[in-house]
Symmetry: C2
Subunit: 261 residues, 2 copies
DNA sequence: CTTTCTCTGTTTTGTC
DNA sequence: GGACAAAACAGAGAAA
DNA sequence: CTTTCTCTGTTTTGTC
DNA sequence: GGACAAAACAGAGAAA
């Protein structure tokens, strides 16, 4: 009843506010946590490396190198320097037209030095991989079928899709919702299945005072029996006569006992 | 504390025991429930039917007819009689070697009469469809990969399957667990995905006194922040600086606001 | 609608 | 450039 | 392990 | 024999 209490929706109690920890300090929760691998190098330092093929050793340090990604940002640049090229700042003179890498939520850690082919600066300007596309089964972008950009349409059910890949999955009876990717035996059910991705639960329990709602008619049909106490399923095995409220429980009984199979 | 109370695990209160209802009476729960369609015929009675093609009317009644199924029981026989053939009991002289239909949990309702081709009794003896197989994507039988009947093996990951169809799905990166049927972009992840079908949760929260367990390392990583209060994600947009405890919330913030996209 | 938090398929990172 | 495993991400989505 | 109950992909049923 | 929608089934699986 104290209206000065700040809104607190968390279902967990919080640890005491640490009076010492600064923003920069990493809070280590427990010694049991798997520690991140300690980077044996930091950018700008020198490192002795071994070439895996020849076995010869070299002194090197961080230098820029290319990395290919699957996403629309095709080239990642990470600062490296050769010990004999420290005067040259490889951030200047960079290609201003290159695609930027995907925005990261956390800054990348310092990479450990490994034997790697050094990429010439002019080679960095020509970043290829423009043709690469996402490799996931489920939709990665533009999965909205109600947007104005409904460019791809299924001839069978007239559903619209934002990309050719999504329509292709749909035509193979695969749900293109991100994280779903289920394949079905019929196109009709693929449409019906979409209700699992909608939030509405249009069916209601008809029992007085019960507010339960459902997406599937059968779920409601069986739920109502918890109110009535009905046990409509009886094992047909002679001498058994066990009764069940839910069809699945009779099915399991028959499967486990071999009754009236 | 009354030890005469019977064990009651239901989470719902039961309706009062009906003193009138017999075993035969169907308990009708509510008037709002969709009533089953009233059968306008009962077996043995006469019915006036209209042939859909010719429009001519005939008096008929229930007679045996064939029905094809997808499952191992290929032919279903339902009692019908012609009005001029009532003396002949079509249960006698039936083919004793025919496959029985799948055992049903509930007796079938009386079928409504429709215009249907009458099947001769001798035709009933020759029930075909021996070659039909299950059409589902997900496993229908023998999905046990730890049984002795591990006949089909994936050459890539050495997983075993009970049927050729299951192995075929697996080789197309489709999970063959019944009700799953998900298709993935890599074979490696298909193996990793199987943990969602196992009941063990091998990862534990390391916080003193917390008993939460996890299947996925990342879920534990983010969960621990509810104890520490850590909010490691900060929007990089100039002047915004909003912080988040979970990476998904920063991602959504960037998607909705366009910040540092 | 909101915020808090979990699950999981794919992408990115670290290392060789 | 490759491979691979671990970490992180980016949604979907449940709960309040 | 058990029992209770919900969700959902496929099969069966009812009807034309 | 077909088609189609509604009902039912047969698991998986969450919860206690
Ligand atoms: Zn170096
Ligand atoms: Zn379609
Ligand atoms: Zn789906
Ligand atoms: Zn339906
Ligand atoms: Zn109810
Ligand atoms: Zn029994
Ligand atoms: Zn008839
Ligand atoms: Zn395999
Ligand atoms: Zn699966
Ligand atoms: Zn993993
Ligand atoms: Zn915890
Ligand atoms: Zn922001
Ligand atoms: Zn390389
Ligand atoms: Zn919700
Ligand atoms: Zn027919
Ligand atoms: Zn459980």
């Amino acid at each position: 009843m104290d209206d000065l209490e700040p809104a607190q929706r968390s279902k967990y109690p919080r640890v005491e506010e640490s009076t010492e920890a600064t923003d920069q300090e990493q809070v280590r929760v427990s010694e049991n946590l798997p520690k991140p691998p300690e980077p044996d190098v930091v950018p700008g330092n020198l490192y002795r490396t071994t070439d895996l093929a020849s076995g010869s050793r070299k002194d090197k340090c961080i230098i820029q190198y290319k990395r290919t990604y699957k996403n629309k940002s095709k080239v990642k640049l990470i600062q490296e320097e050769t010990p004999h090229d420290q005067g040259t700042d490889n951030l200047e003179g960079g290609p201003s037209t290159r695609l930027r890498p995907r925005k990261l939520n956390q800054p990348p850690k310092d990479p450990k030095h490994v034997t790697h082919k050094v990429v010439a600066k002019d080679e960095l300007k020509t970043s290829g991989n423009r043709g690469k596309s996402a490799s996931g089964i489920q939709a990665s972008a533009g999965s909205s079928s109600k947007k104005a950009e409904a460019k791809y349409s299924c001839e069978v059910c007239m559903m619209n899709f934002g990309s050719k890949k999504e329509l292709g999955l749909h035509e193979k009876n695969i749900c293109s919702v991100k994280g779903c990717g289920k394949k079905f035996a019929s196109h009709k059910y693929l449409i019906h299945h979409q209700k699992v991705h909608r939030e509405d639960r249009p069916l209601q329990c008809t029992w007085e005072g019960c507010t339960k709602t459902f997406k599937w008619a059968w779920a409601r049909t069986e739920h109502i029996r918890v109110h009535t106490g009905d046990r409509p399923y009886t094992c047909a095995e002679t001498g058994c006569g066990k009764t069940f409220r839910f069809v699945s429980d009779l099915s399991r009984h028959r499967r486990k006992t071999g009754h009236s199979g």
